[in-house]
Symmetry: C2
DNA sequence: ACGCTTATCACAAACGTTTCTGATAGTTGG
DNA sequence: CCAACTATCAGAAACGTTTGTGATAAGCGT
């Protein structure tokens, strides 16, 4: 039979059911239940991270005393405090943030959900968030939705499971339902939307001047002499698409230009949608003489295509885009853009979130708008030459 | 005096020293110590997150039973399991990863330290790491050193405090001492270096073909007819600088070209160092007819400057850079680069780390090199036209 | 019928902190 | 000298899990 792992006797050992799928034994002699561990299982593994208890044992005092000494509380004699500090150095003690967070019910961690770090906007926004976080004693946990609604949902689940103190969310392009956000609100976990916000729920938001930026860009095209202005957007259901379209329409309206649906091109914001859009526009009976792209990246893709086909920029077709970028500046011709200052958006968002975390009772649900700036470049000026 | 907060009597209350800096009282009647809380302190705050204990109470069973049911362990009757599952849904239970990690001694989180997400290389590498992490059940916690050694050190401290299961580190440009890494090793926390590795310590590393890439680029320039080749590097102490310089030298040597120190330009990798480098090269008595930049971004900055001064590219001066980028492709002239596949580097690094986490006894300290690829573009071809 | 066996569950300890409560020795003042 | 008071510390509880150990009712075979 089986030897008892406690008294080593063999005679008294009988089977005793199963525990978690493994055969269990019972030793009648020493009255002990046990299961056989596969011996390679786990060595004592004595984590070589010193704990508060280790310090306490080392000094022969109570763990609570060590804790208070380390945290600079009052009830500690200078002598004891000094000894604790020294021991902490000697044993290379590092506090376990997990235990600390579990105990305090606060993690000092902020969860960020973005569609894709590879988009310069998000990279920059993220970097500025990180900076603010460090300065204010927070940590940041980033998740990429990879532009997928289901992954986004999963990300938020994970961050909640990690008990982040708050969430900074920018939606994926395919996110159209927002139960997962309602859910966060129901648990009264502070959340701030930024950039790709959700208009259906009343959350604090930080956006850029989507309307004004689009308006300014299109107005600029009109002033430069463009009369048939195309617009390339993201998905039709996408909130940002809608707002930026409104800015486009408003500008046309101001100058008495009728809105023609044919000049509105929706895309899925994939890699080469710019070329497709250009293809569409150039094959129209009356191709536009100016194009506003919701993403400056798309404007550049279109310009690449235009150059391939010897379409003169800006004389035959001018381009403007939303969002600045080193590429916009260095591409030839350089692209006229509305700079929406990703760093400021990032800062504003995390500051608003931290404010809401600290004053939990009165969640500030204002929508902040970061002021942008029109940057006029070669892709849209001196058009008048053609006339 | 003070009313006792327990028995409400006033008579028996006397002072009793200080606790954490606040006056303490003692009630002789009910034998109770207390301090006065500022009433706005903390409402019960009953976190509205259901716990396992809540489920257990709700069902009238033991918490351990709930735990086993949720985790699909064996010792649970189908009926109980079903009830627990339903209760979990009803009460919207979410496991507390903090408690779970604390208990298991494993966080399933990987810490990543990078100098700057705004560099496309790191953004891409990070994105691919995230993907692998999700697929393998890990989470990622990212920290930016912002190219500062002290911040990098702090980052690693933080990640250790969070008890990440392992570290992925790419050093800041100013990191020259590596005690903080020794320290990580001393605690036998798995670590993998990538890209900007540290050659002084024996850690697992994932690099790209720094030597071969540089060699190929410079050889390409030579084959195209360049004879005086400048090289723009990062800081002199920077490991990557050294390796890439070696590749440069080896290529020159192969073709019998003498290495001239004057053609080696070190930079601090700041924003506009490319212009400065160009300034330096163009003002030499014998300006180079080809320049290899350690960062393609720098090559482009140089080309911008070259274009401003009407220097013909590539006829008068050819350019090549290390690392591909959409900018390299779309800039005019497009830049010849050695593509080092940031996504593959990211994947390889995290895979190696996870492997090391799982087999803790035998840390795999091999250095993996991700195969790169020379991409020849306009900035360096057809030079022969000039001869 | 009785011992072996199973299925199922409760209970307690543990993870590493923080904080509340209890306790002691010393100090002060009338 | 004694009550009131202070300074300082120990011990226990709590945070939310997981897992080892103890326990009970029921099934099975001889």
């Amino acid at each position: 039979m089986q030897k008892c792992i406690k008294c080593n006797s063999v005679d008294g050992v009988i089977r005793s059911g199963f525990l978690r799928g493994k055969q269990r034994f019972f030793c009648k002699l020493c009255n002990f239940h046990f299961i056989l561990e596969n011996e390679n299982a786990k060595l004592p593994q004595k984590a070589n991270q010193a704990t508060i208890v280790d310090l306490a044992k080392h000094l022969g005092i109570a763990a609570s005393t060590v804790s208070r000494a380390l945290n600079g509380k009052a009830d500690i004699s200078p002598f004891t405090r000094q000894a604790v500090m020294q021991a902490a150095i000697d044993l290379d003690y590092r506090p376990n943030l997990l235990a600390q967070s579990l105990n305090k019910g606060k993690t000092n961690t902020i969860g960020v959900v973005i569609p894709n770090v590879e988009l310069p906007f998000f990279a920059t926004a993220l970097a500025s968030m990180q900076q603010v976080a460090i300065d204010t004693g927070y940590r940041i946990m980033v998740c990429h939705s990879s532009e997928s609604q289901s992954v986004e949902k999963l990300n938020i689940e994970t961050l909640i499971a990690c008990r982040v103190d708050g969430l900074l969310v920018s939606h994926s392009k395919e996110t159209t339902s927002f139960e997962h956000i309602e859910h966060v609100l129901a648990k009264s976990i502070p959340i701030v939307h930024f950039d790709r916000v959700c208009n259906e729920i009343d959350t604090p938001k930080v956006i850029h001047e989507d309307f004004k930026g689009s308006f300014d860009l299109v107005e600029h095209l009109i002033v430069q002499g463009c009369q048939k202005i195309g617009v390339m957007l993201g998905p039709e259901k996408f909130y940002i698409s809608q707002i930026r379209l409104e800015g486009y329409k408003a500008a046309l309206q101001k100058y008495g230009i009728e809105v023609d649906e044919k000049y509105i091109y929706y895309s899925e914001m994939n890699k080469n949608d710019g070329s497709k859009a250009f293809e569409y526009f150039i094959n129209m009976q009356q191709p536009p003489d100016g194009v506003f792209a919701m993403l400056s990246r798309n404007a550049i893709e279109m310009m690449v295509e235009a150059k391939k086909r010897q379409v003169k920029i800006p004389e035959e077709m001018a381009f403007v885009g939303f969002g600045d970028d080193i590429l916009c500046e260095l591409f030839e011709p350089s692209l006229t853009v509305f700079n929406h200052f990703p760093n400021k958006v990032g800062e504003a968002a995390i500051n608003l979130l931290i404010e809401n975390i600290n004053s939990k009772n009165t969640p500030n649900t204002t929508t902040q708008s970061v002021r942008g700036e029109l940057i006029v470049r070669a892709s849209s000026i001196n058009i008048f030459v053609k006339h």
